[in-house]
């Protein structure tokens, strides 16, 4: 499954709505809307965007960014999101996961993890939306994803920071390790630069989806073409 597209919040709303429609038409399987600076700035996602995007797309829609309470999540879901993704606020206060899963069901709650390799082991980072505020959360990635699953997370998006923006392929070793420690769907993020990178991550890390942003935004890779390519290489995709 080609999991979709990561929006960054510096685009104006009209652009976002147009892009969302373009990705739907190209055959994206899901849109993930990230307001990456929401947590470091101490604010929540701009909800007008959520509304406008939800109204025009007919594929699953996940919203991430600064969701730190049941009330925040409820508002975003009411505006038309199907899932919410939490990252820094869950690290600050892990019981938030339990509360969200109990209220909305695990299938609604996605854990975003920013993970960085250091001396052969993997660690979680937070507030990654702002380089000045990014900090190591002093947790091992594997410990964190296990705890989050025990608390009721329904899906994990693992963003491998070493690879993010480098476009040299997904971190298949790390994703494989997380795959082997997950009982919930795992989505790969960070590093996509070419169509074969998608094929590699499905084949080597057995992920449930692959997420990319810049290669789709720039139209370097067309989603429909990518899915045909994956299907030709025996990856099951919706076409």
């Amino acid at each position: 499954m080609v999991k979709g597209v990561q929006f960054r919040n510096h685009r104006i709303v009209g652009d976002i709505v147009d892009l969302a429609q373009r990705y739907c038409a190209e055959g994206a399987d899901e849109l993930v809307f990230y307001d990456i600076t929401a947590s470091p700035d101490g604010r929540t996602v701009d909800r007008a965007w959520v509304d406008r995007v939800a109204a025009v797309i007919d594929i699953p829609f996940c919203v991430a960014g600064g969701i730190r309470s049941i009330a925040d999540a409820e508002e975003v879901l009411h505006k038309g999101a199907d899932k919410i993704s939490i990252n820094s606020p869950a690290l600050e206060h892990p019981p938030l996961i339990d509360e969200l899963a109990k209220r909305f069901g695990s299938q609604c709650v996605v854990l975003g993890v920013d993970s960085h390799e250091q001396d052969g082991s993997y660690h979680v980072y937070q507030y990654t939306g702002d380089p000045d505020k990014t900090t190591a959360a002093e947790r091992s990635t594997i410990d964190w994803i296990r705890e989050a699953q025990d608390r009721g997370i329904g899906e994990i998006v693992l963003n491998c920071m070493n690879q993010d923006g480098v476009r040299e392929g997904y971190d298949t070793d790390q994703l494989r390790l997380v795959r082997d420690n997950s009982q919930v769907p795992l989505i790969a993020s960070g590093g996509a630069g070419a169509m074969r990178h998608f094929l590699d991550v499905f084949a080597r890390a057995d992920v449930d989806g692959a997420l990319a942003a810049s290669v789709f935004h720039s139209a370097e890779i067309n989603i429909s073409t990518l899915k045909s390519y994956l299907a030709d290489h025996a990856v099951h995709v919706r076409q």
Partner: protein, 201 residues
């Protein structure tokens, strides 16, 4: 002919907006409501549901909608948890449901290749001809987001498979239900909703 009005029963799930938007895109007026008179008078009724079966049943009971739903004669479409609510019961917290379609919703089997919840696009396998599936091919993909499902039975119109096969679409009299989310299933989902709007009472 007047545009058919769709009543969406407010079963308490938080993310109903995507369903309202889906009908808006189809040019059909849909209302989210717990009003028995509006539900009885609507041309089509949707029973959605997100969250826990017990909470949804409690809410339907509080609004005195249990018998209202059982007595509906117009086309009714249960979606996701709404499908499970139409069944006899759900294993989730052992809840008695509406008892309109025989069967008990069971938790999906988990397997290494099939994590639960099932969150993703799955192809359906059509097991019986039905107007709801007009124009849809065997193997069409729909978007699923669930931990429980009804077992395959005589009322199953289409199946899907996770670790094991389960009912993807069921039908009994005027009651239809889909385990997936047609409102988030791209063209296939849109086609299914249009078929539902066209279906005879």
């Amino acid at each position: 002919m007047a545009t058919p009005v769709v009543a969406i029963i407010d079963s308490g799930g938080a993310n109903i907006a995507s369903l309202l938007y889906a009908f808006e895109r189809l040019g059909t007026k849909a209302i989210l409501t717990t009003d028995a008179a509006i539900i009885r008078g609507a041309g089509r009724v949707i029973l959605p549901g997100v969250g826990a079966a017990k909470d949804a049943m409690t809410r339907l009971r509080e609004h005195r909608l249990i018998d209202v739903i059982r007595d509906l004669t117009q086309p009714v479409l249960g979606i996701c948890l709404g499908m499970q609510l139409l069944a006899d019961a759900s294993e989730e917290e052992d809840v008695e449901c509406l008892g309109i379609i025989p069967g008990t919703a069971r938790q999906l089997e988990s397997a290494t290749t099939c994590p639960v919840p099932n969150m993703g696009w799955c192809p359906i396998s059509i097991s019986a001809d039905h107007a709801l599936l007009d124009g849809l091919a065997d193997g069409a993909y729909f978007y699923f987001l669930h931990s429980y499902a009804l077992p395959v039975s005589d009322h199953t119109v289409a199946t899907a498979s996770h670790a094991e096969p389960f009912a993807a679409i069921i039908s009994r009299r005027n009651f239809l239900a889909a385990q997936f989310h047609p409102e988030r299933s791209s063209h296939a989902g849109s086609l299914l909703l249009q078929n539902f709007l066209r279906s005879a009472a």
